[in-house]
Amino acid sequence: MSILGTRVVRTEDPVFLTRGATYTDDLIDERLTGALHLTLVRSPLAHAEITSIDTSAALESPGVVAVVTGADLDIAPALLFPGANKAMTRPFLATDRVRFVGEPVAAVLTEEFYQGEDAAELVDVEYEPLQAVIDPLAAARDEVLLFDEAGTNTAAAYGYDTEPAADFFDDCEVVVTQDLVNQRLAAAPLETRAASAFWEGDRVTIYLSNQNAQGGRDEIAGWLGMDKENVRVVLPDVGGGFGAKIGSDPEFALVAWLARRQGRPVRWNESRSENMTGMVQGRAQRQTVTIGGTRDGRVTHYRLDVTQDLGAYPRLGTFLPMFTRMMAPGTYDIEHVESRARAVVTNTTSVAAYRGAGRPEATAAIERAMDLFAAEIGKDPAEVRKLNVVAPDKFPFKTKGGVEYDSGEYAKAIDLALTEAGYEQLRAEQRARRERGDVRQLGVGVSSYVEITGGGAFAEDASVEVHADGSVTVLTGTSPHGQGHATAWAMLASDQLGVPIEKITVKHGDTDLVPRGGGTMGSRSLQTGGVAVHQASAELIDLAKQRAADLLEASVEDLELDPSNAAITVRGVPSAKSVTLAELAAQEPLKVDTTWDGKKPTFPFGAHVCVVEVDTESGKVTVERIVAVDDAGPVLNPLLCDGQRHGGIAQGIAQALLEEVLFDEEGQPLTGTFADYGIPSAAELPSFDLVEMTTPTPINPMGYKGIGEAGTIGSTPATQSAVIDALSHLGITHIDMPLTPLRVWEAIHAASEAST
C-alpha cells in the first residue's frame, strides 16, 4: 500500500519537542563565536528631515564597539521592488529623511545584548518633522510627497491610465456598489526577524529567518555589489513566515556589511515592538466593488477598483493588486469584468505578502459583492452563489481575470459545506430568534473561493541520492517554516523508492547545498518542489534499472523496483537475481538532479460556512462553528494538510473579527506590541469542521494543488458575512473588517437611530 495519502506523523517533531528547534538566534556555530550584537536606532517619527546625528555619548557607553550611521555606508539605497517607481529607493540607514516610524537610522554594535539597548538610547538624532500622509487615498492625491524626485506617491498602476466606461452597467437590472476596507494586518510570526553573518575571506555566510534562501542570496548580493557565488545564505529552522519572510530585508544586508566592516561576526535579533513596525505587513487595500445583474439572480457585470497602501518604500506589496485583479471574478462565471489598481506609498510600515497575498483581498471583495447583490434582490446568498459559479463542464476555464482555472467543482463544494453545517436548520433557528427578539442573534455566512497557487514561479529543482548504506538524501529548493516538508518529501521519495522514511533525509535552505530554488511561498511547495522530488525519484529508478540491466542479464524494460526491499528485480521471474539500490550505490554514486517545470499555476477552491452569535446589546461576536471544504486535489498527508487548513482558518477569522494594524494621523503606530494587536488565543476560537473533497489538477502528474493559504481565503469572507447576516434584519448591509465588538455595536446603534 502506498504511503501517500496516509496520516504520517512528522519526522521533524522529536527534536522540536525535546531540545527545541534551532532558530537563527539559537545557533551555536563556532564561526559566530564572539559575534557583536546589533541594535538598531529607529526613527520615532513617521516623516521628518534628519538634521543631525550625534553618536558621541553612545560611543562612550559600556561595551560599545561601533556606532554606524548612513554616512559611513558604501552601499547605495536600493529599490526593494523592481517594478516600482525608480525614485522610491530605501537607504540601509536613513541619512537625510525618514519615512516611517521604525526606519533604521543608526546601528550600534556591542559586545553584549543588554549593552546595545543602553547605548541605542544615547544616539542623539535631531529631526525636523514633516507632514505625514497615512491614508492611501489621501496619498494618491499627491498633496504630500514622500519622494520629491518621484513627483508622485503612486509607485505603480495597473489599468489606471483610462477612466472606466460610464455605461458599463447600463444593461443591468440591478446594480450595487460599496466601498470596502481590507485592513492592514501584521503577519506576526512568533519568531521575529533575525540574521547573523560571518566572513571567510571574500565570502560571507548569512543565517536568516526567511522563506527563500536562494532569493535572499541574490538580493543581498545585489545590494552589497557582490557576486552571488560569494554569498551563502542558510536558513535554519524558521519560526513562522506567513509571507512576511518572503524576500530579504535591508537589515539582513546591513548585518553582513557590518560584519565585514568590523572584521567580526554580527548577530541581530529584533524585538517584537521592532517587528511590529519594521517587518513588512499585509493586505492594506481600499476597494470599491460594483456588481450588476438581473433581478432573478444572474450576475453579469463586476467592477473592482483597488488602491493598495504600500507603506513607506515599495516592496512586494506593489505586486499584490496584480494578484487581486487576476482573481477578481472568484468562482463566478461573469461575462463582463473589469478592474484597475494603483499602489501608493504612505508614511507607514512597508506592505508585502501575508498569507494569501492579494487573493484573500480579491475573494473578500467579490464575496461581499455577492452578498450585497443577493440582499438587493432578496434572494438567499448561497443560492445566488450556486447560480453564478463556473459549471464543472467548463474547465479549463479562461477567466475574465486573465488566467485559466485548471479544474473545479464549485457548486458541489458549496453544497457540501451547506449540508455539513445544516444550513436549512440554521436559517430556521435564525428566523425563530428574530421572531422572539433574542438578544443573541444568529448569523450564517457562506463563502465560495478559488485561489491561485504556484503562481509566478513554477519550476523547482530536486535531487535524490541513494547511499551505499541504503539511506537517501533529498535536496529541495523549497524550505519550510512549519509546513512539514521533511516528512512530506520523504513520503514522496519513499513511495517511489521503497525506502522507509526513517532512512530519508531532506535537506533545504542552504544555497551551497541547493543553489537553485524558489523557496516556500504562494502555496507552491508541494505542486512544484514535491512533484520535483517525485520526478527525481522516478528518474533515479530509471537510472538504477540501466545500471542493473547488465548485472541482472535482463533488458531494462523487464526490470522493476520491488518496493518491499528497494531492489531492482526482473519482472515476473521471482527466482531471478535482484540488486538493491544500496548495492548499486556502493558501486558508483547513484544520484539524480532534476527540474520540474510546472508550466502553469493551479487553482484550489472551496466553500466555507461560518456560524456566529452576535450579542446585539454589546456587539460581541461568538464564532459557533466554521465548516470548511478546501479542495486542493489529492492529499499527500492529511495530518499536514489539515494543519495548514486549521492555521489558515484561524488567521482568516482573525482578520474578519480582530486584527488590524493602526496608525494615528501622524503615523504613530497604535498597535506596536502584542498587548495592542489582537492575535486570537485558543480561547477566542472554536475547533474547526473540515470536510473532504478532491478534484485533481491536470497540471502535474500527482494532481496536487496548494493548500497553505486556502483556509485564510475562505474563512475571512464567511465570517464577515456571518456577522452582517446576523444583523441584516436591522437593515445593516455592510460593516468593514475587523468586526470588533465596538464596530458591531456602532453599526447596530446607527441602524436603530436610522429606524426611529
Binding site: V15, G678, D689
Partner: protein
C-alpha cells in the same frame, strides 16, 4: 549578583546583572535554547517554564527572583535528554500534530504540563481558557487543544460524540465555541 538556580535538576550558578531576565539566563547563561522569546510584553507565552512547579513566563521573572529555586524547561521533560518526546504532553503534541513551526511549542508544552497538573477534570473549554496566555500563529490551536486533552487522558472527540448520540444540534452552546473580541 550571584544566583544559584536548579535547572532541570542540575545546579547552575552565575554572576548576573540584576536586570537580567530568567529567559536570558536560561538561553544565554545556561545555554538551553528551547525556551523562546517571542514578544516584549509577556503576551505570547513562548518563554513559559515551570518555576518551583508553577508555570511562569520567564520574560517576566528576573534571574535574581529565581535564586535558589528550581526551573523546569521542555529540555527537562521525560525522554528529552535522549531526544525522544516521551512525556505524555510532548508525545501527544507529536501524535496530534500540535506544532508546526515549533516556536511557541516549548512554552505551550510547559503551560500544558502545568494545566494538566492543576486540573484533573479538563474539557475543551477549560483547555482553551487555560492556554489563553500562549499564542500560536500556525496551528489555529485545533490540534494543540486536542493534544492537551489526549495528554490529560480525555477523549478530544468526547463532546462531539455526545452531541451525535443525543441528536443535539452542533451549534448548541457549550462546545467548540470561541468568543472573539472578548
Amino acid at each position: 549578583m550571584k544566583v544559584e538556580i536548579t535547572v532541570n535538576g542540575e545546579a547552575t550558578t552565575a554572576d548576573v546583572e540584576p536586570r537580567q531576565l530568567l529567559a536570558h539566563y536560561l538561553r544565554d547563561t545556561v545555554g538551553l535554547k528551547a525556551t523562546n522569546i517571542g514578544c516584549d510584553t509577556s503576551s505570547c507565552g513562548a518563554c513559559t517554564v515551570l518555576l518551583d512547579g508553577e508555570a511562569v513566563k520567564s520574560c517576566t521573572v528576573l534571574s535574581v527572583q529565581a535564586d535558589r529555586q528550581s526551573v523546569t524547561t521542555m529540555e527537562g521533560l521525560d525522554g528529552a535528554a535522549e531526544g525522544r518526546p516521551e512525556h505524555p504532553v510532548t508525545a501527544a503534541f507529536h501524535a496530534e500534530h500540535g506544532l508546526q513551526c515549533g516556536f511557541c511549542t516549548p512554552g505551550m508544552v510547559m503551560a500544558a504540563v502545568s494545566l494538566i497538573e492543576h486540573d484533573e477534570d479538563l474539557d475543551e473549554r477549560k483547555v482553551r481558557e487555560g492556554l489563553e496566555g500562549n499564542l500560536c500563529r500556525c496551528t489555529g490551536y485545533h490540534n494543540i487543544v486536542r493534544a492537551v486533552l489526549v495528554a490529560a487522558g480525555k477523549d478530544p472527540d468526547a463532546a462531539q460524540k455526545a452531541e451525535a448520540a443525543s441528536g443535539a444540534p452542533r451549534t448548541a452552546p457549550g462546545f467548540s465555541r470561541g468568543e472573539a473580541g472578548a
